[in-house]
Structures are given as structure tokens and as C-alpha cells.
């Protein structure tokens, strides 16, 4: 899609300003029903677009992404723009700097239409934990768009943006991509700098694209990837143009499948994934069953280590430096109720009223697991099991080039269906979280549609690759996309 729009821009069939205005009109028309955006940055978008038009008018050449409008998840900082992470505690926060991905996109002339909805601090799988409302599914208004990057996925699916950025800590790009029928890529941990992404769990978080096509994801990744002195965990990059690897040729490629994953699916979902496997066989890939004996422990490992990192990362929201500060003389009934209030009451009240329930739950869980006497039993044990899971993947990747799995157990679920039971919501992350635990790149690719209560709902599938092997992940995804 990006390439075609780029051609139209350089052929002067459309201006960047008109393109931005068309997308802004679409947001205006659809978003009151779907709520993909928390804020729309119309002035910024038009200013960026006009700069591109001026360049074209001067006869200068433009980059592929120049003038192409996209959406940014609202946990990524754009200087001078309100950035809420969907939390009341950051309701009035205006970012004082650009995230590295934003800086890179600006340098490449991309246009920003606005900031998209997410679960508060990216904790959740449905955007139901957003302080601002739920993003509805583009295919059925009674269902969720997934999460946490539900706004970004819905925006792309609804043509409210050409491309979007999300963040993925346990599936937050790939799961909503599956529910909304778009492509979602979580790069290898370290491939993209996390500077300026509001941290949830620092050893899991990655920023990545949500797009209509695999090629568009490759184009965005090429722009945002690379080492950054502001993120010590970002890895050395050779500056690849990932779109160049999309040959669609996958003959001889060894694709692993995990039998337990597929056996656990419902009939319709099982049939859908079997058809995908058949397509790959026809394209010349070799399908091999692989064994990952420790992946059954992925969920408990994730739900110990992530809350621990959350409790540490979210300690910075204290009602002092920025964001919501409950600092009045009202007796809130919390803490020791000292009057006049002291500093401690500012902390207790601001974090009580500023954070939603799921965020508080994870902070509490992490604080407990890291507290004196419990460290060895929870955090340390989980990090050891994490090593065992990683070793399973290292062994598997000696036999296969990629691993194909479902990405979600079902298509999009109903709004309200899982929100009362946190554990049930966690269990639906089973297929997506292992990629974050071990750090490998993973993509969610639109598969077939599944008929559910009279609606044809999209469902994706997942390809996980070797560390830093995004080119094969993208190419194998592309091969399915052009042959399905």
C-alpha cells in the first residue's frame, strides 16, 4: 500500500495534504463508533504533509514513507503532544521529547495522524483497561479489537491510517492484528530502540508496525530499526532494507509446528491452521514437528517477571514530577490520614486515583514477588525457567528455520466477556508470550475468516523466527499473503 501511495505522490496524482485530509475525514466519520484514537493531531499532520508537498513541488526526490499518514500508539512519546498511555495518571502529560522511533519516522518524512488507544500502560488484551474507553472491533461493534495495541490495529483495519506503530510485551501487536485482520510484527528484542516508549516490562517490550501488508511492515521496520545510544539493549544493525527480501520464494524452508498448540484448538480454528500449513507445503516448505518441552510454563513465567518489572518501572508515577497529583487537603481515607497531608499521602492518593485496577494488581503482584523473603521462590525461579524455554528455542532452531503457531485461541471475543476474570484473560496469551520471553521476532499474518454468531471474523497465524532474522519471517509471511 505504501509503495502505491508513494507512486501517486511522485506522479502528482494526489498531494500529501489531500492524502492526510482524506484519512482525517475517515477518522472523523468512523471513529466516534470505533474509538481507535485517543487524540487526533490534525495540525501536526497537515504541517508535516505540506512540507512533503513543498519538496515535491521543488522537484526534489522523496523517501518511500514521506507523506504517508500513520498512527502512533499513545504510549510512544511525540515531543509537544499529549501522551497518556491510556492512564488517568498521565492525562495531562505532554511529552518533552521524541521517542527514537518517532525521531526516525520524522526524519523519513512520515505524517502522524494521532495517538491510538491501548490498555492502560499496555497491560491487557482488549483495550478494556483503557481509562478512556474500549476500541470496538472493525468487524463487529460488540467485540474487542484486542490489545493492548487495539487502537493501532483498528485504525489500520478501518482505513483511519495507512500504517501504525504498536508496542508488544506479550502479544500486544500480534493479538490485535489477528483480531482486526491486519499484519503485526514484533521485532527481535533489541532490533528497535525502546527510548521514548513508556516502559511496561523492559526485558520484554518491543516497538513494531501494524500494517495492511507484509511489505508495508517491512518498510516501516527498515526505518525504525537500529542501534541507539539512548537504549543500551538496542542491538547493532546493518541497516537492512527489509522490503528487498520479499521474494516469495520459500522452497526448502524448514517450518516447525508445535503439536500441543494445534491439538488444543477448537475445530474451526484447527481447520484454519491446517489449511495454512497445507499452503506452505505446496509452496515447497518442509513442515517438521518440533518439541518445546518447557513452553507450557510460559504463562506463569511471564506473569511473575512482567509484574516485577512493572512494579519497578511504574514507581516513577508518584504525583510529583509530572502527571496527576492528588494534593488537596481532602481526607481520602487512605494511608494514615495525617492532616495537614505529608508527602506520603500525595503518593498514596495519586497512585490510588491515577492507576486502574489491572495496573494496581500487577504493581502489587510484582511488589510481593520482589519483597523480602520471596525473591528466590518467584522472580529467580521464573528467570531460571525462562532460560529453559530459551534453550528449547535454541535447540528447535537447529532443526527448523521458523516456527508456525496459532496467534490467538479464537477470533475476537465479546466486550465484557473476560474482563472480570484476570486469570482467564491471561490464559488467552498462550501463543503470543513465548516470543517475548525468549526475544525472537514474530509476526501475525491474516489467515482465513471464521464464522462466529453471524459475523465473519478474521483470525491470524504466527511465524516466529531466529533472533534477528526478520528477513525470513517477513518473506515467509509474504509468501502466504500472495498465495492464499
Amino acid at each position: 500500500m505504501i509503495r502505491e501511495l508513494h507512486q501517486k505522490l511522485i506522479n502528482k496524482e494526489i498531494t500529501a495534504e489531500k492524502l492526510a485530509l482524506d484519512y482525517l475525514a475517515c477518522i472523523e466519520k468512523k471513529d466516534k463508533d470505533f474509538f481507535a484514537y485517543i487524540s487526533v493531531t490534525k495540525d501536526l499532520a497537515l504541517e508535516q504533509a505540506r512540507k512533503v508537498d513543498e519538496k515535491i513541488a521543488r522537484g526534489e526526490s522523496i523517501e518511500l514513507l514521506e507523506g504517508i499518514p500513520g498512527a502512533i500508539k499513545d504510549n510512544l512519546c511525540i515531543s509537544g503532544v499529549r501522551t497518556t498511555a491510556s492512564s488517568k495518571i498521565l492525562d495531562n502529560y505532554v511529552a518533552p521529547y521524541d521517542a527514537t522511533v518517532i525521531k526516525k519516522l520524522k526524519e523519513n518524512g512520515a505524517v502522524f495522524l494521532g495517538k491510538t488507544n491501548l490498555d492502560e500502560f499496555a497491560m491487557g488484551s482488549s483495550t478494556e483497561n483503557s481509562a478512556y474507553g474500549v476500541t470496538k472491533n472493525p468487524y463487529d461493534l460488540t467485540r474487542v479489537s484486542g490489545g493492548s495495541s487495539g487502537g493501532s490495529a483498528a485504525a489500520v483495519a478501518l482505513d483511519e491510517a495507512v500504517w501504525a506503530l504498536g508496542t508488544d510485551t506479550g502479544g500486544s501487536i500480534r493479538q490485535p492484528a489477528s483480531f482486526c485482520g491486519v499484519v503485526g510484527l514484533k521485532p527481535t528484542y533489541g532490533r528497535v530502540s525502546r527510548y521514548g516508549a513508556i516502559a511496561m516490562a523492559s526485558s520484554f517490550d518491543q516497538i513494531g508496525p501494524l500494517t495492511k501488508t507484509v511489505e508495508d511492515a517491512a518498510i516501516i521496520l527498515s526505518v525504525i530499526a537500529g542501534q541507539d545510544k539512548m537504549d543500551a539493549t538496542s542491538a547493532h544493525s546493518s541497516g537492512k532494507d527489509y522490503a528487498k527480501y520479499l521474494t516469495g520464494e520459500i522452497g526448502g524452508m524448514r517450518i516447525g509446528i508445535v503439536k500441543e498448540y494445534i491439538d488444543g484448538l477448537g475445530e474451526k480454528e484447527k481447520k484454519a491452521i491446517s489449511e495454512i500449513i497445507e499452503t506452505y507445503k505446496k509452496l515447497g516448505a518442509e513442515i517438521k514437528e518440533i518439541n518445546l518441552p518447557h513452553i507450557k510454563y510460559s504463562l506463569p513465567v511471564y506473569y511473575i517477571i512482567v509484574p516485577c518489572e512493572v512494579s519497578s518501572n511504574l514507581a516513577r508515577f508518584d504525583g510529583i514530577k509530572y502527571g496527576l497529583s492528588i494534593d488537596d487537603e481532602e481526607n481520602s481515607g487512605l494511608g494514615e490520614n495525617r492532616m495537614p497531608k505529608k508527602l506520603l499521602e500525595t503518593y498514596l492518593d495519586s497512585r490510588h486515583y491515577g492507576f486502574g485496577k489491572e495496573v494496581q494488581r500487577r504493581i502489587m503482584l510484582g511488589t510481593y514477588a520482589l519483597s523480602s523473603g520471596y525473591y528466590d521462590a518467584y522472580y529467580l525461579r521464573a528467570q531460571k525457567v525462562r532460560t529453559l524455554i530459551r534453550e528449547d528455542f535454541e535447540k528447535a532452531f537447529l532443526e527448523v528455520d521458523l516456527i508456525l503457531t496459532p496467534i490467538t485461541p479464537t477470533a475476537a471475543f465479546k466486550i465484557g466477556e473476560k474482563i472480570e476474570d484476570p486469570l482467564e484473560m491471561y490464559l488467552a496469551d498462550i501463543f503470543s508470550i513465548t516470543a517475548n520471553i525468549v526475544g525472537v521476532p514474530a509476526i501475525s499474518v491474516p489467515g482465513t475468516k471464521i464464522e462466529t454468531d453471524g459475523h465473519d471474523l478474521p483470525i491470524g497465524f504466527q511465524l516466529m523466527g531466529k533472533w534477528f532474522d526478520e528477513e525470513n519471517v517477513l518473506n515467509v509471511a509474504h509468501a502466504y499473503e500472495i498465495n492464499k
Binding site: 533489541g190 526485558s203 506520603l344 530459551r390 533472533w467
Partner: protein, 93 residues
């Protein structure tokens, strides 16, 4: 099982004010998750090195040089209460 006193203790450590009603809810929710997490006890981890990084980066270092942050004013602007460029807070004791 996490009892109510433990919930209050953790909430204090986490600096989150909670009401009596919330204490009960947290006690139930946290206990359910911790019971479920117990399945990790089945794994033999006696000879396993814990993960500290998921890819090979070791000792990432840079020159010890000070870089000035150019957006100081924007940060001060975010303070809830400011005085002479300082962030004003309530007394600790």
C-alpha cells in the same frame, strides 16, 4: 493465600492507597494468580542459570561524557507545583 495484612503491607510498599473493600478484592485476585504460578515448583531448576538478557549483549558501555538535555524548560513545565525552577513537594515528616 495472601491475607489482608499482607495485602496492606504490599500496598504500603507499592505506595498505593487502598480502601478496606479493595483489600478483600486484592487478597482474592493475588492469591488466585500466585496459586496458579505455583506450577513452576515442578520444574527442576537446580542447575539452571537465570536469564539476565535475551540476546548476546554484554557490558554495553559508552564514553563517560555529559550530554546536556535541551528540553529542560519543558520538563519543569510538567511539575505540579514549581518555585524558582524547583519542583515543590509537601514535607516528608
Amino acid at each position: 493465600m495472601i491475607n489482608k495484612d499482607e495485602v496492606k503491607h504490599i500496598a504500603g510498599l507499592a505506595r498505593i492507597g487502598i480502601t478496606e473493600k479493595e483489600v478483600e478484592k486484592f487478597s482474592a485476585d493475588l492469591s488466585a494468580v500466585l496459586d496458579w504460578i505455583k506450577q513452576l515448583e515442578k520444574v527442576d531448576t537446580s542447575k539452571v542459570v537465570p536469564t539476565s538478557r535475551v540476546h548476546g549483549s554484554i557490558n554495553v558501555a559508552r564514553e563517560d561524557k555529559v550530554y546536556a538535555f535541551s528540553e529542560k524548560e519543558k520538563i519543569i513545565e510538567l511539575f505540579h507545583e514549581k518555585k524558582n525552577g524547583y519542583d515543590k513537594v509537601r514535607s516528608v515528616l
